[in-house]
């Protein structure tokens, strides 16, 4: 037997993992769908590059102007923007995240250090990270242009800031995933999230209670939040740079030291989570069941008046899936959350920039309704993604895909209805009750937009399916082709809606928008019905693709 060196070398393993990712990418190009995915990735990458370079340029100019104007402390605004984008965007647009399940690697003799490194490397190549990195580079260039002497220091501070963001994003996902894995912690998370949203509502009244009425809102905002933000990482990074610009290096060093402390603390919390994963924790609820219960009561399935039993059964199944998916519920609640942020967050304090809905409150409800539909595309454009192996059941059962798809669309339409009602209430509460004509025009807009999205979604669900895990957070990656086409559809739909509202506003009568949108709704509904009636044929023709894609391990 030949002598073999069986020493496990981390670098060899990392090279093997990189090679694996590369082979997966290359092998995916063998199919037509894979090639289309590549084209979509290139186009989306191009959009991100434009956003990154353009944003970086803007950040650079802004940073340079702040330094030149002698107000380096305003860099905090830029760094807070970068921080919020870096952390919030992956939650709001989970389709863009790139975080495959690295825990699969644990079957190999991978050291903990390598595992940690792989997790971080996956995060480092997220489009969001690249985008925020480009913006940070813009800030670096801007500061360097205005004051070249602090360029190395700024580079150091921004590198530590980037490390913080990267660790924070990974830590958030790792912990939220942990908490969402079990029913009890999931419920606690839900309550905390609602409390967090409610707490936003207290900001305004508190600011009014403790502020002076005569002061401008922006100043009041600065006075209340400036001391708080200054001791948080984006504020500390900004302070470290600003102090260097003002030649107060010792204070700058202390800010950087505090930022480093944040990095270490966040890194520790991430380590605790990843270490548990590495040791092979089991987050299933098996262990949590303390007593064996025999439930002999009969539980009847749901009934949907006017619809067949299979439609009701699929509808019930879809609702149960959604109710058990913390990540999906979190995503679906985003429209209301965004409304609250728009109204009570810092954006409402600057009259000339962000407080759009304060100036045109009539547009708040239509915008919220449109955003609701946009969020719903996560589900509607990948109808079967969460079914995984269950797709075989659909094919084996004596039920037409027309009924199955109809039930899924009904679920999505129900969510849309509930969210629209909630949005209407939220707008009434936060701004003012939308006028009747605006409300009806917005509903007509939804009647037009929903069938368009459902039609496109039903087709893409069959032509470009992607397996999704409803229980995982930050791993809900739709097919790039789907993302691209859905963006195109949204662009057209929102464009048509805006045009209808613009025409109505031009003539001072929102009923015109209602009329236009209802006419378009008639057309889009007809298209929806035509496509729905052809779904069976398409589903049969696409069964191999669907079964292969959704049943893969």
């Amino acid at each position: 037997m030949s002598e073999l060196d069986l020493t496990v070398r981390p670098l060899t393993q990392l090279a093997a993992i990189s090679g694996l990712r590369w082979r997966l990418f290359v092998n995916a190009l063998r199919s037509t769908r894979g090639k289309l995915e590549l084209v979509s990735r290139i186009l989306i990458g191009l959009a991100f590059t434009i956003g990154g370079v353009g944003g970086g340029l803007g950040m650079g100019i802004a940073a340079s102007m702040m330094i030149s104007a002698g107000k380096p402390e305003l860099l905090a605004l830029l760094l807070w923007f970068v921080f919020v984008f870096w952390q919030v965007f992956p939650i709001m647009a989970t389709a863009f995240t790139n975080n495959p399940d690295s825990s699969d690697l644990l079957r190999f003799p991978l050291s903990y250090r390598s595992y940690f490194f792989v997790r971080m490397a996956y995060g480092a190549f997220d489009p969001v990270t690249v985008l925020a990195g480009l913006w940070s580079f813009g800030i670096l260039a801007g500061v360097g242009f205005a004051k070249p002497a602090v360029l190395p220091w700024t580079l150091l501070v921004l590198l530590v800031f980037a490390a913080f963001n990267l660790l924070f994003m990974q830590m958030t996902f790792a912990w939220v995933e942990r908490w969402l894995a079990q029913r009890r912690t999931r419920e606690i998370m839900g309550v905390l999230f609602v409390l967090l949203m409610l707490s936003f509502q207290l900001i305004g009244p508190l600011a009014r209670r403790f502020g002076t009425r005569a002061r401008p809102e922006a100043q009041r905002f600065v006075e209340v939040l400036a001391p708080v933000q200054a001791i948080l990482p984006p504020g500390l990074a900004a302070d470290a740079i600003a102090r260097a610009v003002l030649s107060q290096f010792m204070v700058g060093v202390s800010s950087l030291a505090l930022l480093c402390a944040f990095v270490l603390i966040i890194g520790y919390f991430l380590h605790v989570r990843l270490r548990a994963q590495y040791r092979g924790e089991n987050l299933s609820e098996v262990a949590a069941v303390s007593a064996l219960l025999k439930d002999r009561s009969l539980r009847l399935g749901w009934n949907l008046p006017g619809f067949t039993a299979p439609v009701a059964a699929v509808f019930e199944k879809e609702v149960r899936y959604l109710l058990r998916s913390g990540p999906m519920l979190l995503t679906l609640i985003m429209p209301i959350f965004v409304l609250v942020v728009f109204r009570l967050g810092p954006m409402s304090s600057f009259r000339n920039s962000g407080a759009l809905f304060m100036r045109v409150p009539d547009m708040a409800f239509p915008s919220a309704a449109a955003y609701t539909l946009l969020i719903l595309t996560n589900l509607a454009y990948n109808n079967f993604g969460g079914d995984a192996g269950g797709i075989q059941f659909f094919y084996a059962s004596p039920v037409s895909f027309r009924e199955i798809v109809l039930a899924k669309n009904l679920t999505h339409a129900s969510i849309l209805t509930i969210e629209t009602v909630l949005a209407w209430i939220a707008v009434s509460f936060l701004y003012r009750a939308p006028a009747l004509d605006v409300s009806i025009a917005a509903l007509a807009g939804l009647l037009f937009a929903a069938p368009v999205n459902f039609s496109a979604g039903n087709l893409l669900s069959l032509y470009s399916p992607k397996k999704l895990d409803f229980s995982s957070f930050g791993r809900q990656r739709a097919s790039q082709l789907t993302v691209l086409i859905s963006l195109g559809v949204q662009f057209v739909v929102v464009g048509v809606g805006v045009a209808a509202f613009w025409i109505a506003q031009h003539y001072g009568d929102f009923w015109i928008a209602t009329l236009i949108l209802l006419l378009l709704a008639g057309i889009s509904l007809s298209v929806y019905v035509v496509i729905l009636n052809r779904i069976d044929g398409i589903a049969l023709a696409r069964r191999e693709t669907l079964v292969t894609e959704l049943c893969r391990a």
Binding site: E285, R299, G301, A312, G386, G389, S397
Partner: protein, 275 residues
């Protein structure tokens, strides 16, 4: 009397590009048969069962289940069959009871019947102990039992099972076997693929062997045994590395299988570095 077959195929073929996975097979399964479909890895078993259950389109050929053309009337066929495919076709984010209820209603049962049968099946399969547990948290064996329960909830006349005993412990296997034998006793037909030849030999009345996409043997165990015996020179071993049969001793299904597909056990001579 030659009964009309429950399952029949004519020239059933499936190509994947250049590869002919199933090559013009003509199957014939009579009512009430416990039919084992055997073959080495990659022989075309799963591809065949997928085509028989409508999960995969044949490239050519014809399939009739209970006298109904599958391609022309897929819904009518699916109404009368039960399927446990390779991936088990479960919905992981439902509880066992919810899944069975769902399955029952998809097969056209009313709400009360679906709920009643779900409860009975969960009890029979010994899955009723943890009603709030999601299917995704079930063990492999529990998932197999649940998949089987979902496949029979509507009382199918034909049951297709792809590797039903794979990864199932002896207790669960016993439960499944009892249920299948009960179905056969009531006149249903069971078509299963399995690698565990001992189980097939014990359960199945009829067997077909597929090799490299072609059907190489089909019939009752006795017919297959007689066919292989007829080809074997008197007093010779089975040619597949097994011992010679003593006079009067019957060939096992494993011996029949190995002779039919020309298998041999050369592993001892290879991979000398192992261990």
């Amino acid at each position: 009397m030659d009964l009309a077959p429950t399952i029949s195929t004519q020239g059933l073929t499936r190509r994947f590009g250049e590869l002919v996975a199933v090559d013009g097979i003509d199957l014939r399964v009579a009512p009430g048969q416990f039919f084992g479909f055997l073959g080495p890895n990659g022989a075309g078993k799963s591809t065949t069962i997928k085509m028989l259950t409508g999960l995969l389109a044949p490239t050519s050929g014809r399939i009739e289940i209970l006298g109904v053309d599958l391609e022309r009337n897929p819904v009518e066929v699916k109404r009368q069959i039960g399927v446990v495919p390779e991936g088990m076709a479960l919905f992981g984010r439902l509880t066992g009871a919810e899944f069975l209820n769902f399955a029952g209603r998809m097969y056209g049962l009313n709400r009360e019947t679906a709920a009643k049968r779900s409860a009975e099946l969960l009890d029979f399969m010994q899955l009723a102990d943890q009603p709030k547990k999601l299917v995704t948290d079930y063990s492999h064996g529990m998932q197999k039992k649940l998949a089987m329960a979902a496949a029979v909830i509507h009382g199918p006349k034909v049951l297709f099972l792809d590797e039903p005993f794979e990864g199932v412990d002896a207790i669960a296997a016993g439960t499944l076997k009892a249920m299948l034998q009960g179905m056969i006793a009531r006149g249903a037909t069971v078509f299963l693929t399995s690698h565990v030849l001992e189980i097939v030999e014990r359960l199945c009345s009829h067997v077909a062997i597929i090799h490299q996409g072609k059907l190489v043997a089909q019939g009752s165990l006795e017919e297959l045994r007689a066919g292989v015996e007829a080809q074997r020179p008197a007093g010779a071993g089975d040619g597949a590395g097994d011992r010679s049969l003593r006079s009067g001793e019957k060939m096992t299904l494993e011996q029949i299988f190995l002779r039919t597909v020309g298998g041999s056990r050369r592993a001892e001579r290879e991979l000398s570095w192992l261990g």
